[in-house]
């Protein structure tokens, strides 16, 4: 149960406030959390976070000079972080555990992509990224660690994490983010300005990024989670001003617990969000993708396309919610989630949701769950491809249809490698 090992003892940093932290504690057991974490173990994740080590280091690798990076505690006053704590209480817990955060400000277009370090096990401080008006930013985030699905010994990796956490449960009564406890949780070697300093495979990795795009700013974010044994929870919460544009491409190869929350608020007129994703969940993976897109301003546009393929005993969840606010006339939203199950034991859940409070909108959503097409399989076999090879080709074709961005080829190769390992012939 969440909170057993010190949730109530957490201390809130100034920018979160005691009230914010209290809201998080309440939300963890609230109705919304039960709904949005229906297929993921919120209690276990919370508990694992409370006992996870600190993952420290700069939030950006070799940041371009056009980007100014500072700790929250180094700022004259706490920055404004508008996290929806009711929907994302874990973000508040992570913030409280980290005790600090990072502010990265982009005032002019950087001369190269911003690179986020590979997500590392433990609690990482939230990153608040502000992109100034008219700036164009490429963000790259890739985790192609050596972990392979073959390294994953069983379907209940998160359970293992929790077991380890429970065995190492602290007996002292100090707050879990008190200075003495934080010191004990910190990795041995730690230096600011370097990337991840801790790689304790099997421990939950976290990433919380709050992204603010000023007028006409453009961000292209490419994310590749290609270390299948990594367990992780990430939140990308973005707010877009007038005519700003966010493109998010992500690929995921999962064989353990992985959850991604994406929250996009299209505040400004003409703001645009596009997301293309492909995920291959194998072995005992629990892959959970949760999208919430808020159309708040006029003529806002969103496009979401997600292809998921589940094999083995994997569980694959996609929840896509589009919320059209009363003043969002001219909004244009399209959300599509296609799923394939390669085995009888794979479990797929998909739930597109529309909530519309304006008549002058165009909204479309669709979700499919199926198996490899028999006609297509026969077509390939009739050309001499053995069954396993034909299945593999159809699978990679399905996933490729959801790939985009700079990591697309790398992801396709990783997917193909995994599909080849999973099938013979």
């Amino acid at each position: 149960m969440a909170g057993e090992i010190g949730l109530e003892a957490l201390q809130a940093p100034a920018w979160l406030g005691d009230a914010g932290l209290a809201r998080c504690r309440r939300a963890l057991t609230g109705k919304l959390a039960r709904e949005t974490w229906k297929y993921s173990p919120l209690g276990k994740v919370t508990q694992a976070l409370l006992d996870a080590p600190m993952a420290r280091g700069s939030p950006l690798v070799d940041a371009p000079e056009q980007v100014r990076v500072r700790r929250f505690t180094a700022l004259p006053s706490p920055p404004e972080c508008r996290i929806n704590l009711h929907r994302y209480p874990l973000a508040g817990i992570v913030a409280a555990l980290a005790g600090d955060g990072w502010l990265a400000e982009v005032a002019e277009t950087p001369d190269r992509p911003l690179r986020l370090p590979a997500a590392t096990p433990g609690v990482a401080a939230p990153l608040l990224l502000r992109v100034g008006a008219g700036c164009r930013v490429e963000i790259e985030e890739t985790d192609a660690g050596a972990s392979t699905i073959a390294d994953v010994s069983g379907p209940q990796r998160l359970g293992e994490v929790v077991d380890r956490a429970t065995r190492g449960r602290r007996s002292n009564k100090a707050p879990v983010n008190s200075p003495q406890v934080l010191a004990a949780r910190a990795p041995e070697a730690e230096s600011e300005g370097t990337s991840a300093t801790h790689d304790n495979q099997g421990t939950l990795a976290t990433r919380v990024v709050l992204l603010f795009l000023a007028q006409t700013a453009e961000v292209r974010w490419s994310r590749a989670d290609l270390a299948p044994a990594r367990e992780g929870w990430s939140l990308l919460a973005a707010e877009l001003d007038e005519d700003a544009s966010l493109t998010f491409n992500h690929q995921s190869l999962a064989a353990a617990f992985q959850r991604l929350d994406v929250s996009v608020a299209l505040h400004g007129a003409g703001a645009r969000f596009g997301s293309t994703g492909a995920a291959l969940a194998s072995a005992g993976a629990q892959l959970d993708l949760q999208y919430v897109i808020e159309h708040i301003g006029h003529r806002t546009v969103s496009r979401v396309k997600q292809h998921n393929l589940a094999s083995g005993k994997a569980r694959c969840t996609f929840n896509g919610r589009i919320h059209i606010h009363p003043h969002a006339s001219g909004a244009d939203a399209d959300l599509s989630n296609r799923n394939l199950a390669l085995s009888a034991n794979a479990d797929i859940n998909t739930k597109p949701e529309l909530e519309i409070y304006n008549d002058d909108v165009r909204c479309a959503h669709g979700a499919t769950v199926g198996r490899l097409d028999d006609d297509a399989l026969f077509y390939l076999q009739s050309r001499g491809l053995p069954t396993a090879a034909a299945q593999r080709l159809l699978s990679i074709g399905f996933l490729r249809d959801g790939l985009s961005g700079p990591f697309a080829e790398q992801a396709a190769n990783s997917f193909l490698q995994q599909l080849s390992a999973a099938t013979s012939g």
Binding site: D373, D374, D375, A376, F378, Y379, L380, Q381, S382, R383, G384, L385, P386, T387, A389, A390, L393, L394, I396, G397, F398, L399, R400, D401
Partner: protein
């Protein structure tokens, strides 16, 4: 040893008998045309030869190059030299035509103990074939049949036939949906394929294709069996008189 020998073949689909005693013999170097009204079993014959799941042989026998075709998987039949040009070729997004063709050829080569062709030589050969069929080489980069017109799909089928060089090509209504120019292009491809070492089983509704691909034999399939056989003149008679006279004379 015949290239194809079908004896008293009975086939059911979903429990319904479709072929009811079909017999046919083909020798290498021959082109046979199968004609017949809708629902007579023409496509069933094509699919059962290729080993499509769901087509249950309830009686009779098929022998391909002297070997009985029983429970062989579709890929085994293809690797042995049997090719089916689909009436409705399937679209496969995300898999490029070139990738698909290479995988198909590699499977054939591997099954027959041949070394794989180098990618450069392969691509050069495929582009030449595409050009001969007036198929834009750009189509080779696109998903298999994805967004192709009906004519482009059929030309892609012929390209695959020429690439894989089967011993028996079964063309299931390859001329359907084609304009006159496309029919001529496809027919030219088939005529180029014809040789003394292979055979073509041409399933069609129309005489017009047979103006370009001259068959050695024409068979009429009705109610699951071949009810009439002859030379190309039989097709001309069918074009003039339809199929009704066969039922009356039978």
């Amino acid at each position: 040893m015949s290239l194809l020998q079908v004896d008293d073949l009975h086939v059911s689909v979903g429990g319904e008998a479709i072929l009811k005693g079909l017999s046919l013999r083909m020798e290498a170097g021959e082109v046979h045309a199968i004609m017949g009204p809708n629902g007579s079993g023409k496509s069933t014959l094509a699919n059962v030869l290729a080993g499509r799941p769901g087509y249950e042989v309830t009686g009779g026998a098929i022998a391909f190059k002297g070997h009985p075709l029983g429970q062989e998987e579709p890929e085994a039949r293809a690797q042995a030299g049997l090719f089916l040009a689909f009436q409705y070729p399937v679209e496969i997004p995300g898999v490029s035509n070139m990738e698909f063709l290479k995988a198909a050829q590699d499977s054939h080569f591997k099954a027959n103990g041949q070394a794989a062709e180098s990618p450069v030589a392969f691509m050069r050969r495929v582009r030449t074939l595409a050009d001969s069929l007036s198929l834009n080489p750009e189509f080779l980069k696109r998903g298999v049949n994805e967004g192709f017109s009906g004519g482009e799909k059929k030309r892609n089928e012929i390209l695959q036939m020429l690439l894989l060089a089967p011993t028996l090509a079964v063309l299931d209504e390859t001329d359907s949906g084609l304009d006159i120019d496309a029919v001529q292009t496809v027919a030219a491809g088939v005529n180029r394929f014809r040789s003394a070492d292979n055979g073509v089983l041409l399933i069609t509704h129309y005489q017009r294709l047979l103006n370009h691909i001259v068959p050695d034999f024409v068979h009429v399939l009705a109610e699951g069996r071949i009810v009439e056989s002859g030379d190309r003149k039989l097709a001309e008679t069918l074009e003039e008189r339809g199929y009704a006279w066969l039922a009356k004379s039978g």
